[in-house]
């Protein structure tokens, strides 16, 4: 093995193609035996240039583009964008629309947290939990499909309101699903906090203190597991969260176990919130009218995505297209925390620590215009489009 002996460092690459990460990111862990001594990250394998792309599209077209930033938190991206545009246009969405937005956002949080629960368990080699939590996740997917017609990109939002109503029949369907999910969630809580082999993989692993969490700029459940009370739904309430406040879930220990506990408790909190909103659904219109040209100005809107704070900056030049849209996704904030607290842990813990922040690669990779190399020729977006039309003709 001459290669290893020559360079003293033994680097284990994880990604961009690796069974631990189903999404393309690249990590390099320098290991000494089983202990990790250094870590680095490289992103950008699936850049799509969405921020640049928004500048070429009208306000309405961007609703659909931004929904496709992420396949998991699709709704919350659009909510952030739509509310920001409404702020610019000085339009207030009707209360019923805001309630529906919030219900869909919470359902999305349930679906995202359950997905995470399964993935994290799988990284720890606990496939039974993975299979069961993903089976139960189908319940919430069914709910979303029933109310919106889609499993992933719900397209609930339009500028000024929402597209569909939640009638009594749908309401009953949601409540029935939540009942089942609540029972299962309590069961998972019990497993995660009592199963000895699983606790051996999560307790005191990847611990991040409150000070470190603040220092490293962690957000979302990752920060809350370390005792940082940061939840945009609570500190800067928007939409229906103004009328229906949430309880911020925090945990003090800051290890992987705490991240599990916080996310599972958030599931329960989401169930409670959805029930409360469904019980007090405001009556009224579903959408307000919004002008095609948005008045010049700039605004900021922040929402709490399943992974943490999502930040949107929208600047309008007064035309029918935005001047600039800046998206700062929660995963980006949490990377620095991973890279920092990976050092000193065992290689076997890496997948779980990585999964612990619930990384979302599509969240990160959204900046660059698409580009394909084909026989040393670089294709522009337009070439690619023409090629696509030609190909499928």
């Amino acid at each position: 093995m001459p290669t290893q002996e020559q360079n003293q460092k033994f680097i284990v690459p994880i990604g961009p193609q690796h069974p631990a990460l189903k999404e393309p990111g690249h990590f390099e862990f320098t290991v000494d035996g089983e202990i990790v001594t250094a870590a680095s990250v490289r992103l950008g394998y699936v850049h799509r240039g969405i921020e640049k792309g928004t500048e070429d599209r009208t306000w309405t077209q961007n609703v659909y583009l931004l929904e496709r930033i992420c396949g998991i938190c699709s709704h919350v991206h659009v909510t952030a964008y739509v509310v920001a545009v409404e702020q610019l246009a000085k339009v207030q969405a009707p209360p019923r629309a805001e309630a529906i937005r919030t219900i869909v956002a919470e359902l999305e949080r349930i679906h995202s947290h359950m997905l995470w629960l399964g993935v994290a368990a799988h990284e720890g080699g606990f496939d039974s939990l993975f299979m069961y939590s993903w089976r139960d996740r189908e319940t919430v997917m069914d709910i979303l499909e029933t109310i919106s017609g889609n499993r992933v990109h719900y397209s609930a939002n339009i500028l000024g309101g929402v597209k569909f109503d939640i009638d009594d029949q749908k309401r009953d369907f949601i409540l029935k699903g939540l009942e089942f999910l609540e029972e299962r969630t309590n069961h998972y809580m019990k497993i995660v906090t009592t199963d000895e082999t699983f606790l051996g993989r999560t307790r005191n692993i990847g611990t991040m203190t409150k000070e470190q969490a603040i220092e490293l700029g962690a957000v979302g459940p990752t920060a809350r597991a370390s005792g940082v009370t940061i939840d945009i739904r609570d500190s800067a309430p928007y939409s229906a969260y103004k009328t229906f406040p949430v309880n911020v879930i925090t945990d003090e220990t800051g290890d992987l176990l705490a991240r599990f506990v916080v996310r599972i408790k958030e599931l329960l909190e989401s169930y409670r919130l959805i029930r409360e909103i469904l019980d007090h659904m405001p009556e009224g219109e579903l959408a307000a009218r919004i002008p095609r040209r948005i008045p010049a100005g700039e605004t900021i809107h922040r929402v709490e995505a399943p992974r943490g704070e999502l930040f949107y900056y929208v600047k309008s030049g007064g035309g029918d297209k935005p001047e600039r849209i800046k998206v700062r996704t929660p995963s980006l904030c949490n990377w620095s925390s991973v890279i920092n607290f990976a050092v000193g842990h065992k290689l076997a813990d890496m997948p779980m620590i990585l999964a612990g922040i619930d990384p979302c690669f599509s969240c990160n990779d959204r900046l660059i215009k698409i580009r394909r190399a084909n026989q040393s020729q670089v294709w522009t977006w337009e070439d690619l489009r023409l090629h696509g039309i030609e190909y499928y003709r």
Binding site: M1, T3, F10, V12, P19, V31, A121, G125, F126, R201
Partner: protein, 311 residues
């Protein structure tokens, strides 16, 4: 039951060779299917393991740069051969062992270890980082479970007063089931078998989320197929051995079938029940708990033999 067959048939077709491979594939399927059902999945069709083997045999075998060619091709063959050889000394399918001599228990035990060592060497033979880490873990793990596992097999041997598997088998049929007399030994043996086969929760050497496929990452095609068959064969032999020793011996094929299937059910349940242990946790567990329990059982047997005749 004795088999009145010529040696060549015993070796190549029944109970060794083909039959063993076939039953290995069936048991692999049963194991996968059971785990799948425990996890609320559908699981593979019955011919899936066979289809896997055919697929792998038909595939191109790529020898990575940096590997020693002879070792790369030779190790899978040695591994499978040793597993198949071990089968000749155990009462497979409820028939008397084809060959038997005083001390074949130890020989079988080491023949089964050869497979694991071959896997470790195969990993270390590569320059792939995943392979090397996997090999390190495989070899670390072998040192952790081997001693308790041997202690657990020693118990029945001492009780029967013989080192021959066939004699222990006959002793087990005539006396009370040893699982009742030596429950700790049985548990250690069963879990030791899971460690030997690198089944969850002892699958750290091939933890896919960390090191892809561990020691066998660089293997494709024929080599991988042989290693996998070797493991399946080891599963069958291990189950046979434990049921012969602890579950009242194997007198006929029916006996063999139901006892091994019950054992398989238990191991599949255990596989579905636990999260993967880290390699340091595995080693710690075996030395702190496994070895201690094994010794305790041995002590109890020796004391029992000393005190027993007094009554």
């Amino acid at each position: 039951m004795n088999l009145p067959l010529p040696s060549i048939i015993l070796l190549l077709f029944f109970p060794g060779g083909l039959f063993l491979i076939a039953s290995g594939l069936v048991y692999q399927w049963a194991d996968r299917k059971l785990v799948a059902r425990f996890q609320n999945r559908i699981g593979p069709r019955w011919f899936q393991p066979l289809a896997d083997v055919f697929k792998l045999l038909a595939k191109e075998e790529i020898v990575p740069t940096g590997a020693i060619k002879g070792l790369f091709h030779g190790l899978p063959i040695v591994a499978l051969a040793s597993a198949l050889t071990a089968a000749l000394y155990v009462p497979l399918a409820g028939f008397n062992a084809s060959y038997s001599f005083q001390g074949d228990l130890i020989v079988v035990f080491y023949l089964l270890s050869v497979l694991t060592i071959c896997i470790g060497l195969a990993g270390a033979n590569n320059i792939s980082r995943f392979s090397i880490i996997g090999a390190t873990r495989t070899l670390t793990q072998i040192f952790s479970y081997e001693a308790p596992f041997l202690l657990a097999l020693l118990g029945p041997a001492i009780a029967a007063g013989s080192w021959s598997i066939s004699k222990i088998n006959i002793y087990a049929q005539e006396n009370v089931w040893l699982i009742l007399a030596q429950p700790i030994g049985f548990v250690v043996a069963l879990i030791g078998l899971m460690g030997k086969l690198e089944l969850p929760p002892f699958d750290a050497p091939e933890a896919e989320t960390e090191i892809v496929a561990g020691a066998l990452t660089e293997y494709s095609g024929r080599g991988l197929a042989l290693f996998r068959i070797g493991k399946d064969v080891e599963l069958v032999i291990g189950l046979t051995l434990i049921s012969a020793l602890y579950l009242g011996g194997l007198a006929n094929p029916l006996d063999f079938l139901w006892k091994t299937v019950v054992l398989l059910l238990v191991t599949a349940g255990l596989q579905a029940l636990f999260a993967r242990l880290r390699i340091d946790q595995t080693v710690g567990m075996w030395w702190r708990v496994g070895a201690l329990l094994g010794l305790l059982q041995l002590l109890a047997i020796i004391l029992g033999r000393l005190i027993g005749p007094l009554f």
